[in-house]
């Protein structure tokens, strides 16, 4: 999913406005409740992310090597091959440390408020 930044907003303003009028409210707010983390070069990017309760985070593996996303007792992805995705919706506040169980030096943190 594409995340809008200020520059995109200027360029796509007309289209975005049209979409906002046509789509239901929940979809229009999608960018607030869906965030993405990329796995690139054996790192989670961004390595730390602060989100609100109810946000869904999607990890995408963009390496040529499989990875996993594991937070002990909280969530555990299957093995993600190249371009595979894993999503988790955070319904409780707290700090979620996670790592790749195949390459444990790869660590990340989701802070949920």
């Amino acid at each position: 999913m594409k995340t809008l930044n200020r520059r995109d907003f200027g360029v796509d303003f007309g289209l975005t406005l049209a979409a906002a009028i046509l789509l239901p409210v929940t979809t229009a707010r999608a960018d607030d409740t869906n965030l993405e983390i990329h796995i690139d070069n054996f790192t989670f990017q961004p390595a730390e992310l602060s989100i609100k309760v109810g946000t869904t985070v999607t990890w995408t593996n963009r390496d040529d090597i499989p990875h996993t996303v594991v937070s002990a007792g909280k969530f555990r992805s299957k093995t993600l091959d190249t371009d595979d995705k894993f999503s988790f919706t955070f319904t409780n506040a707290g700090d979620y440390k996670y790592f790749c169980s195949l390459h444990p030096h790869m660590t990340g943190m989701i802070k949920v408020e």
């Binding site: 054996f42 390496d63 040529d64 499989p66 594991v70 299957k78 195949l102 390459h103 444990p104 030096h105």
Partner: protein, 314 residues
């Protein structure tokens, strides 16, 4: 020197050709000291493979069957090239060890393909798993194939040619932020396995991830590897063979020789030489010079085992 090793009959033309072929394809060095890349290479090759008595075994590693990315679109093909190279060796090795990452994604078909090719060597193969071999949902494919008669997650020991071999598993139950892991149960087994062994018994430890700390920033080491090395401290000859880092690296520390083997699938960068330890794309013409196998020769009464790394080409 090498001529004498062939005895009074002199060197047959066939033998010379075999030796030359071997030397032409092998980058060689021994762990007893730097061997120059010159005629000395041929002499060493003969000494270690053709003319020297003693036991020779092979190490292959990181075949990653199923890998099809740009760094090597045909990992099965290069594995087959490695096996062909093994089959062409002038002296048949006693057996082979595979230090893990047999497959890329632990798919049944990947294990089947790997076995189909590796079995063409007609050698006994002793495996240890890499992290890529434990990826199936039930973590059963590796164990079904190679776990018989092993302890715990797949560790075991055996004796061959007067050498005690110990296969260890350091790819399970890894901790966030940490390195490879042996765990308390395996370490206790190892201590027990070595108990009562004569200190003059040469010991070979083999595992997927280096048991020594190569580069922790990329996870290239084993958290509790030092514990395992304590248990072999009193032994006169210890050789540690690993894979995982897809390049040759060696270190000698007292009585312990550490060595990592090339992959048969794709090279990885030298520590810190790239943004990540991921597969390294090199020119097609260069790839086979960075893949290969290692042959290890053990001679009675010599403290150190001679290790020869042979690339697929160049």
């Amino acid at each position: 020197m090498s001529g004498h090793d062939h005895g009074d009959d002199g060197v047959s033309r066939r033998k010379v050709l075999e030796c030359m072929t071997w030397a032409g394809t092998g980058v060689l060095w021994t762990i007893t000291g730097g061997v120059p890349r010159s005629l000395g290479i041929i002499d060493s090759a003969q000494a270690a493979t053709a003319a020297t008595p003693g036991m020779t075994f092979l190490q292959i590693s990181d075949s990653h069957v199923g890998f099809d990315k740009p760094a090597n679109p045909n990992a099965l093909g290069t594995l087959e090239e490695a096996v062909n190279k093994i089959n062409a060796m002038p002296v048949k090795p006693s057996f082979m060890i595979h230090t893990g990452d047999i497959t890329h994604l632990s798919k049944a078909a990947e294990f089947d393909n790997a076995d189909r090719i590796i079995s063409q060597s007609k050698l006994d193969v002793h495996y240890v798993p890499g992290e890529h071999d434990f990826l199936d949902e039930e973590v059963k494919f590796y164990r079904e194939r190679y776990g018989r008669g092993t302890k715990g997650q797949g560790w075991y020991s055996f004796d061959a040619g007067g050498v005690h071999f110990i296969g260890l598993v350091n790819v399970v139950d890894l901790k966030a932020g940490g390195l490879g892991n042996l765990g308390a149960e395996q370490l206790a087994w190892l201590e027990d396995d070595l108990r009562g062994k004569s200190k003059s018994t040469p010991v070979v430890l083999f595992a997927h991830i280096p048991l020594w700390t190569v580069y922790p920033e990329w996870g290239w080491g084993t958290e509790d590897g030092g514990r395992a090395l304590e248990y072999v401290k009193g032994f006169g000859s210890v050789t540690v063979l690993n894979g995982h880092i897809h390049q040759v690296m060696q270190k000698v520390e007292g009585n312990v020789t550490f060595h990592t083997a090339r992959s048969t699938a794709f090279p990885q960068p030298a520590p810190g030489a790239a943004a990540s330890p991921g597969p390294m794309k090199v020119e097609d013409a260069k790839l086979r010079s960075m893949l290969g196998v290692a042959s290890v020769n053990f001679k009675q009464n010599e403290q150190r085992l001679a290790i020869i790394d042979t690339p697929l080409q160049g």
